[in-house]
């Protein structure tokens, strides 16, 4: 039996070792990404599953996020007779925060969970061992293409989310509530600078990395039993959500 201090020490060592393993996993995935044979077909396949197949849910969430921002923004700004600033408020909020974060949440729920479940199921049914035994590195075959695809897909999905959300807010603010179209777009043009777009872009790239990295890691290290698949899926989704929010805070504080 361990004393309380011993327990703390044990947890600290275990946590540090687990963190180290997670980072080594990522380093290994990057190292294998640039070693032959080239896995371009697999990368394209995963861009399709992460990007194209998440498009509908990203567009849908983008439209309604924009519409609710138009609605809330209009009634909040009207209290100060500032409804003409709706365009800039919506654009800044979406480009810098909501676009990257919400599209990352959608991709986590739609694709990240499936990714973790698929890899965990391969682990449980010895398919990963089969890859090793066929002299094929599973990190190179399963993980590296997914991470590269995540890095490519996430900024594109976020850009689409941004455009759709800004249009959603336009429909509510301008077409339903009567804000002038000119002031909506002029305000946006005046307040949005390149740094805002860059901030959103960098966030989306890092979220693409976080999602694919965590989901692949959790799937790859799933306990080798039937419940391991469910456990890996749940843990990966929860950890992705938390990591996205924490990392978003740090990125925002650095890029303000």
């Amino acid at each position: 039996m361990f004393s309380p201090i011993g327990q703390i020490g044990r947890y600290t060592i275990e946590y540090t070792a687990a963190t180290g393993r997670t980072f080594l996993f990522l380093l290994s995935a990057f190292a294998w990404a640039f070693r032959p044979p080239s896995r371009v077909r697999l990368i394209i396949h995963h861009i399709r599953t992460i990007g194209v197949e998440s498009l509908s849910v990203v567009i849908l969430s983008g439209v309604f996020t924009g519409m609710v921002m138009g609605l809330q923004g209009y009634y909040s700004l009207r209290k100060f007779n500032a409804e003409n600033f709706l365009g800039s408020a919506v654009a800044l909020g979406i480009l810098r925060e909501l676009g990257p974060v919400l599209s990352a949440f959608m991709v986590t729920g739609r694709t990240g969970s499936a990714m973790a479940a698929e890899i965990a199921s391969m682990k449980v049914t010895e398919q990963i061992d089969a890859l090793y035994s066929m002299a094929i590195n599973p990190i190179q075959y399963l993980v590296s293409p997914r991470i590269l695809a995540g890095l490519i897909s996430m900024p594109l999905l976020t850009a689409i989310f941004d455009v759709v959300a800004i249009y959603g807010a336009f429909v509510v603010g301008v077409q339903l509530l009567g804000v002038s179209s000119g002031s909506y777009f002029a305000g946006m043009e005046l307040s949005v600078v390149f740094k805002d777009v860059l901030s959103g872009f960098l966030k989306s790239v890092s979220f693409g990395l976080i999602i694919t990295w965590i989901c692949c890691y959790k799937g790859f290290h799933a306990p080798p039993m039937a419940t391991g698949v469910g456990q890996a899926t749940t843990e990966s989704v929860v950890l992705c959500f938390v990591m996205i929010l924490v990392w978003n805070y740090f990125m925002t504080s650095i890029m303000l």
Partner: protein, 248 residues
């Protein structure tokens, strides 16, 4: 020749392998038998370094594979074919693509040549014309045969079989044994089979080893093994719950 030398492996505090010494002779099939949870699969997974030992080594053609780095290990693994307990077919691919997978990865062949090779391999295991199906669409026996076709398609020098007949009815089990014998006659691989299927598996074995309490209790030719007076071997062969091995 594969030599397992003083192999130790523990999982947490549980020591599963306690100094295994075993030789798998070239071109012969060695069957490893033992009780459930005795560490047979763990031992098998050490033979191609899917698991690494805490101590000891596995010498394949004189090289200790537990000391090899990634590139050397991958080269060594290409000498092996493995039939996993559940076949371990990649479920996102058809049977054809599963069998073609190691060929596409390792042999620089053109697609028509790959197609010919894969179809031949599928025909050898009685799965001609079934390549278009996905693993989820075929029976357990067909999965095993597809796994065998995938393992043999690159004509490996060494084959590892992890409980090849588990979960199959006796007739299907016998047909898998016959298939292994037929493939052995054709490719002359060095084989290691982990099995519970006693005495049926003895018909295809040249040598038998009994693993109990973390070490090899007895190893020899099939005839010697069957004639052994070792009480552990006798208990195992007579399926006796009373004896030196505690069953429950």
């Amino acid at each position: 020749m594969i030599r397992v030398v003083d192999l130790h492996r523990a999982f947490g505090r549980q020591e599963v392998l306690k100094g295994i010494n075993l030789e798998l002779e070239t071109g012969k099939i060695t069957t490893i038998i033992g009780g459930s949870g005795s560490g047979k699969t763990v031992l098998l997974k050490h033979l191609n370094a899917l698991l690494l030992p805490d101590r000891g080594g596995v010498l394949v053609d004189g090289k200790d594979i537990t000391k090899l780095r990634e590139t050397g290990l991958n080269e060594m693994r290409r000498k092996f074919g493995v039939l996993f307990q559940g076949a371990a077919l990649l479920d996102s691919m058809t049977i054809f693509d599963n069998v073609a997978f190691p060929v596409r990865e390792h042999l620089k062949l053109k697609e028509p040549e790959i197609e010919k090779k894969v179809n031949e391999s599928l025909a050898q295991v009685g799965l001609a014309g079934m390549g278009y199906k996905y693993p989820a669409e075929v029976s357990g026996g067909m999965k095993k045969r597809a796994g065998l076709a995938r393992a043999l398609v690159t004509e490996p020098e060494i084959m590892l079989f992890d409980e090849p007949t588990t979960g199959l009815d006796p007739l299907l089990g016998k047909s898998i044994h016959q298939l292994i014998r037929k493939m052995h006659a054709k490719f002359n691989f060095t084989g290691a089979i982990v099995s519970h299927d006693i005495p049926e598996v003895f018909r295809i074995s040249d040598r038998v080893a009994l693993l109990a309490n973390g070490s090899i209790i007895e190893a020899g030719s099939t005839e010697e093994f069957i004639a052994s007076k070792n009480p552990v071997v006798r208990q195992f062969l007579q399926v006796d719950t009373e004896g030196p091995i505690t069953v429950l």
